[in-house]
């Protein structure tokens, strides 16, 4: 993505079907979506509408049953497992619903992990970890284990982990679902500020109205189809 392609990710007529016993479930149905640089997009919809599946598709974590996902101008279906891993490592930051930090690693090690995979020097890693921890207001907590942090603090570490490798896009799957409303609101506010200050691209799924309202673009999913795709201020 060094060529600054304005289309970060493109989903073209993507469908995904799952088999659950004898039943086939249409998780996504002919979804087309373009994510551009600098967007702050919420993918909203009720439970089972296909939000998580869409996030998996556009990150190369899952393969569509039909249709194409284009990552950095290259169809994901033509990329090997290793290429997809490298793509996610270098271009995508993930924030998960249940934080999902590695429990045996400290805050610093959790954040450093991706940079270690990228081969960033120790000195650079130290600087970037310190900076990012200040940015998410967790300065001084780098040596704590995830279990020694509150839910909100863990989610901030997850945000820091997602941001530290300076990805082109951060994908967050219901990042506020396990947080109280105040903490959730402040997390979204922090993400929005990062979007505005740094121009970082965010795509997050949610079913909370309050969170949807903070998005600059709202993609509404229902029964695996895009029901609405609107820009907001």
């Amino acid at each position: 993505m060094q060529n600054k392609n304005p289309k970060l990710i493109e989903a073209i007529d993507v469908s995904k079907q799952y088999r659950s016993g004898e039943i086939t479930v249409d998780a996504l149905n002919s979804v087309s979506l373009i994510i551009k640089r600098g967007e702050f997009t919420a993918i909203a919809g009720p439970s089972g509408s296909g939000k998580t599946t869409l996030l998996y598709m556009i990150s190369g974590l899952d393969i569509p049953t039909s249709g194409t996902v284009v990552l950095d101008g290259k169809p994901a279906s033509t990329m090997s497992s290793r290429e997809l891993s490298d793509f996610r490592r270098d271009h995508i930051g993930f924030i998960f619903q249940s934080y999902n930090l590695i429990p045996v690693l400290t805050v610093r090690e959790n954040i450093e992990y991706i940079m270690l995979l990228q081969g960033v020097t120790e000195r650079e890693r130290r600087v970037r970890v310190s900076e990012i921890l200040e940015e998410v207001s967790l300065g001084g907590m780098e040596n704590r284990l995830p279990t020694q942090l509150s839910g909100g603090q863990q989610q901030r570490v997850a945000v820091a982990r997602a941001m530290v490798s300076k990805p082109d896009i951060i994908l967050a799957d219901e990042p506020t679902a396990n947080l109280d409303s105040h903490t959730g609101e402040s997390l979204i506010e922090m993400m929005r500020q990062l979007n505005e200050r740094r121009g970082m691209t965010f795509v997050f799924s949610t079913h909370e109205t309050m969170i949807m309202e903070r998005a600059k673009r709202l993609v509404l999913l229902k029964d695996g189809r895009i029901e609405k795709d609107e820009k907001r201020q």
Binding site: L61, R88, F96, I102, V104, E109
Partner: protein
């Protein structure tokens, strides 16, 4: 480095499971180390018992003597052989013997015996007859008419110290019967049934005289400065004394049964090791899979954030190696302690006969550096092999599938 750190810390996440697996693997390793040490000790003891009792570490005979025991078949050019032995730097001691079949008569009974003519002074250095005397005394220079007989034979013949017996044998070449009266000078107990029940020792000169051997002899028993030389097939000794229709044989050739047992013991050791390593591999496989299934989602996260499949596999393999290393260390410590204790106090198998050898001394397990390097390395190797399948499983995980479980 981060992967190693991750693997190392992961194995301590479920301490109880790691502890139980570690103990099982460690005890397996310790028992392997101990078994190896015990087998070495046992083999050394068997060799010492077999060679030290009477056989010697090597023997020189006339070719074919051992097959027929014909009294005429004596060592060729004995004087020259003895001269060479005297100047042979590898040879520590030697004892010349004459031997023949005969009949022993006592007032109460008669029995067939093998009688050996020995040089009492030299014999002390190659065999343990003098130490095995239970009653009476060992042969002395002046007691040429004394015999040493085994406890079993004494019982059969109903004789005791100073009782008179007659030995009858056929003379060399003429075949004429020759008789000589002796007194029982000593009764020995070598703990070898055949010897205690049917062997008689007398002065070499006396034996030569009743067999009509002149200055000839049938056997020279030899010990080396370095006992290990007896098993060295390239030693010049064998060629040097296997000339002029004589043959020099080491204990491996003289005791084929023991040699076969030793070969078998090596094979047995490998079988035991293989079973043990198989069990270790299964324990590691089980531990890894249990741990992997517990952390499927975490593995999904690692894949999602950009960990390559090969690195996922590395994490699992490093966990297998870490578990093996911890268990190995534990096993080494236990093995070292147990083997050390028994190497000090020994294990009492005395009196037990195995492969025609009776253990005459305590068995002391022998510690070697190899036991503490080779076996732990095998454990690591088997752990690595056992970790391959779970590693492959982790590498092939479809991130979306495992993440979907709880997202």
């Amino acid at each position: 480095m981060i992967l190693l750190k991750l693997a190392w810390r992961n194995i301590f996440r479920n301490r109880r499971r790691t502890l139980l697996s570690g103990i099982a693997i460690g005890i397996g390793l310790a028992s392997l180390i101990f078994t190896d040490a015990l087998m070495i000790g046992m083999i050394e003891s068997m060799i010492r018992s077999a060679t030290g009792t009477f056989l010697g570490q090597a023997q020189i005979h006339a070719e074919g003597f051992r097959e027929t025991f014909e009294v005429e078949n004596t060592i060729h050019d004995l004087e020259n052989v003895i001269r060479q032995l005297n100047s042979d730097t590898a040879v520590k001691h030697y004892a010349v013997r004459a031997q023949a079949f005969g009949m022993m008569n006592s007032p109460a009974n008669v029995s067939s015996v093998i009688f050996y003519g020995i040089d009492p002074h030299r014999e002390k250095h190659v065999s343990k007859i003098d130490e095995a005397i239970q009653k009476g005394s060992y042969l002395a220079e002046e007691t040429t008419r004394h015999l040493l007989i085994g406890t079993g034979l004494a019982e059969t013949m109903e004789v005791d110290i100073d009782d008179r017996v007659v030995i009858t044998t056929a003379q060399v070449n003429t075949g004429q019967l020759s008789q000589e009266m002796f007194r029982i000078g000593g009764i020995f107990h070598l703990n070898i049934k055949e010897m205690d029940n049917g062997v008689v020792f007398m002065h070499l000169g006396k034996a030569r005289s009743i067999i009509g051997l002149g200055n000839n002899a049938h056997e020279i028993s030899v010990t080396f400065h370095d006992a290990g030389q007896a098993g060295n097939q390239t030693l010049p000794f064998w060629d040097r004394y296997s000339q002029e229709e004589n043959e020099a044989l080491g204990w491996r050739d003289l005791l084929k049964e023991l040699d076969a047992v030793l070969d078998l013991s090596g094979f047995t050791k490998y079988i035991i090791a293989l079973i043990m390593f198989g069990i270790v591999a299964l324990i590691i496989l089980n531990t890894l899979f249990t741990s992997l299934y517990e952390r499927l989602f975490e593995f999904g996260v690692l894949r999602a954030i950009g960990t390559r499949p090969s690195r996922m596999a590395s994490i699992v393999l490093l966990e297998a190696l870490s578990l093996a290393a911890v268990s190995g260390l534990f096993g080494i410590c236990i093995g070292l302690i147990v083997t050390y204790i028994f190497s000090i106090y020994g294990i009492d198998y005395r009196g037990i006969e195995f492969a025609e050898v009776t253990f005459r001394e305590l068995i002391y397990p022998v510690m070697t550096i190899n036991q503490y390097i080779e076996y732990p390395l095998w454990i690591m190797l088997f752990a690595l092999v056992a970790g391959l399948y779970p590693a492959l499983f982790a590498a092939r995980l479809v991130p979306a599938r495992v993440l979907r479980r709880s997202m």
